[in-house]
């Protein structure tokens, strides 16, 4: 069994057929993590004991003839920003280096109930703040397609783990790009669901008006299986939305209606890698060839999305990260001995606990919300956000789905992008979707210089089924999801 190529659907079938047990499968993944994690740094912590225990329990249930879900016995990795009871959850930050949550996030409870094996917690940019995976207090994650490059962030470890065959699927979070960009950079299917589709109880907050929990899979069907389990309203999250959860795997395969699809012209911008543009245009031709009507469409305020996002995000981040004050939990100078004042506890604990990007966003957000500037910056950004939402709404009065390149470029080298503003530009095709709360998927659509390229499909709120359907049709027509990194090159 080649773990690099194995999908959730295949592994589930193999367990049903008695070819392999969940314990054997989990042990094989743990061995592989031991082998490759030192080079990739995809995991911050590996939950060997609890994973084996869960796998054995599923094997017992299977032997007893119990009815099991498609995720039963499947090793899944979790971004370390989602809380897991009694196992460390760091959010990629020194601030939460020793944080042991007292409860499981709702998505974890749902995965466990479905029988999934939580195999470990994955590396990420601190508090999800980053586009490369380099802003982690636990070191940068490396891209299995080229270990000198980033896998994209902030869900860097969740992407690298699945792409390298160190888990069968994973959960990430997407606030401005953080599932879709790493999916594109590592040739995976990455899903950012509609805002409110998936409960965020137990997700460490970054930008509350945009945060979503999403999934990574090797194939569209794997991603649909994962979303199926975690989707749905939750009384523990007042921002989750009561909306029936359709059969996503079923919709992926069955829904074959002809769609009207818009290609967003503003997303093929100047400065885009011309080979990436060609690759994405080829993908669009393939989709046209499937019998769908493809038209050009304009989102007039597209250029304003990035500055809008990078005002709203830091504003909310500065507020959400205010809870790390060195008093209640997290890193604290109080444990180090003498301090002279309460403000010293706050200021020093926060200076020592937060990394550079968190500090940058806290400062930017505090400024954008400060007296005399809040109207000019924060409120103006929220007004422009309304215009961006209207742009999408107008577009969806004409078409069913939108297509864009996920990223204008392929994965860049580690330490290549030093200027924070240039790093923010990585999210240029992605953050508008979060500002409007829409669902979107990045699917593999080719390679440039042996590095993966992603195609983004955007839909109306709660249209995940339509997105999966188109993604699945495209996947069946091409073989991009059957390409794998050369693991002999991962030292």
């Amino acid at each position: 069994m080649d773990l690099l190529k194995l999908t959730i659907s295949q592994a589930s079938q193999a367990m049903c057929d008695g070819e392999v047990s969940s314990e054997e499968l989990t042990e094989a993944y743990l061995d592989r993590i031991n082998q490759f994690n030192p080079s990739l740094n995809a995991y911050i912590s590996v939950e060997s004991q609890s994973a084996i225990k869960q796998a054995k329990s599923i094997d017992t249930d299977r032997k007893a003839g119990k009815s099991l879900s498609a995720l039963a016995g499947i090793p899944i990795a979790i971004k370390d920003i989602i809380v897991t009871k009694d196992s460390k959850t760091t959010a990629g930050s020194k601030m939460l280096e020793n944080y042991q949550p007292s409860y499981d996030a709702t998505v974890i409870t749902k995965l466990k109930k479905a029988g999934a094996v939580i195999i470990g917690k994955t590396n990420c940019d601190e508090f999800g703040l980053g586009s490369s995976g380099e802003n982690s207090a636990y070191g940068a994650t490396r891209n299995p397609w080229d270990t000198s490059r980033v896998p994209g962030g902030s869900s860097s470890g969740s992407a690298a783990a699945v792409a390298a065959g160190l888990a069968l699927g994973s959960l990430g979070t997407d606030t401005g790009s953080s599932v879709r960009l790493p999916a594109a950079f590592t040739s995976l299917v990455g899903v950012k669901p509609t805002y409110g589709r998936v409960s965020r109880r137990g997700l460490i907050a970054s930008t509350s008006s945009a945060d979503t929990i999403g999934v990574f899979g090797k194939t569209v069907l794997d991603a649909a299986l994962l979303l199926q389990v975690i989707a749905g309203a939750d009384s523990g999250d007042a921002t989750s939305i009561e909306e029936p959860v359709p059969d996503y795997p079923g919709a992926s395969k069955k829904n074959r209606r002809k769609l009207k699809i818009g290609v967003v012209k503003e997303y093929f911008q100047k400065g885009m890698n011309s080979d990436v543009a060609k690759t994405v245009e080829n993908a669009i031709q393939t989709i046209r060839g499937l019998g769908h009507e493809v038209v050009e469409i304009s989102l007039p305020h597209a250029e304003a999305a990035l500055p809008t996002y990078y005002l709203i995000n830091p504003s909310e981040v500065s507020s959400n990260l205010a809870r790390y004050d060195g008093i209640r939990y997290g890193h604290s100078v109080l444990k180090q001995g003498e301090v002279n004042s309460l403000s010293e506890v706050f200021e020093r604990s926060r200076d020592e606990g937060f990394g550079p990007e968190s500090k940058r966003r806290i400062m930017l957000g505090t400024f954008a919300l400060s007296r005399g500037y809040a109207d000019k910056y924060y409120l103006q950004a929220q007004r422009v956000r309304t215009l961006l939402i209207q742009d999408f709404s107008n577009a969806f009065s004409r078409v069913d789905l939108l297509l864009t390149p996920t990223s204008p470029n392929v994965a860049f080298h580690i330490n290549e992008v030093q200027d924070p503003l240039l790093m923010y530009l990585s999210d240029i095709n992605l953050c508008a979707v979060n500002l409007a709360g829409l669902p979107a998927v990045s699917i593999p659509c080719g390679f440039v210089d042996s590095l993966p390229v992603g195609l983004q499909i955007i839909g109306q709120p709660f249209s995940e089924s339509d997105i999966f359907s188109l993604a699945y049709q495209y996947e069946q027509e091409t073989d991009w999801t059957e390409q794998y990194p050369d693991m002999t090159a991962v030292k």
């Binding site: 500055p307 940058r360 409120l379 103006q380």
Partner: protein, 96 residues
């Protein structure tokens, strides 16, 4: 929007974030460029556009608070010795 200089010291105090001199210097240099980029938003006419409250227009499912009228003189009493005002605990008010 960048007409006024970004006051790094004031903002770090507001954020309760102790920064080293080196960190302050670097952030100040970066913010010039970042805020210049944000100036793109200044040119967009939003006079008749309301700010977004919720991306999907969701509204609270809870009802509005209902105010029960109470005579404040009966609730708040001055302690004759200490001259402090005493108010009963919320729990007492709730069950009375």
């Amino acid at each position: 929007m960048t007409d006024q200089k970004f006051n790094i010291e004031k903002i770090s105090q507001l954020a309760r974030l102790g920064l080293t001199k080196q960190e302050s210097k670097e952030l100040e240099a970066e913010f010039g460029d970042i805020l210049k980029y944000m100036d793109k938003l200044k040119k967009i006419d939003t006079d008749s556009t309301p700010p977004t409250d919720h991306v999907l227009g969701s509204e609270n499912i809870t009802r509005s608070d209902q105010v029960a009228s109470q005579d404040s003189k009966l609730i708040i009493k001055q302690n004759k010795q200490t001259k402090n005002y005493q108010i009963p605990s919320v729990r007492t008010l709730w069950t009375s």
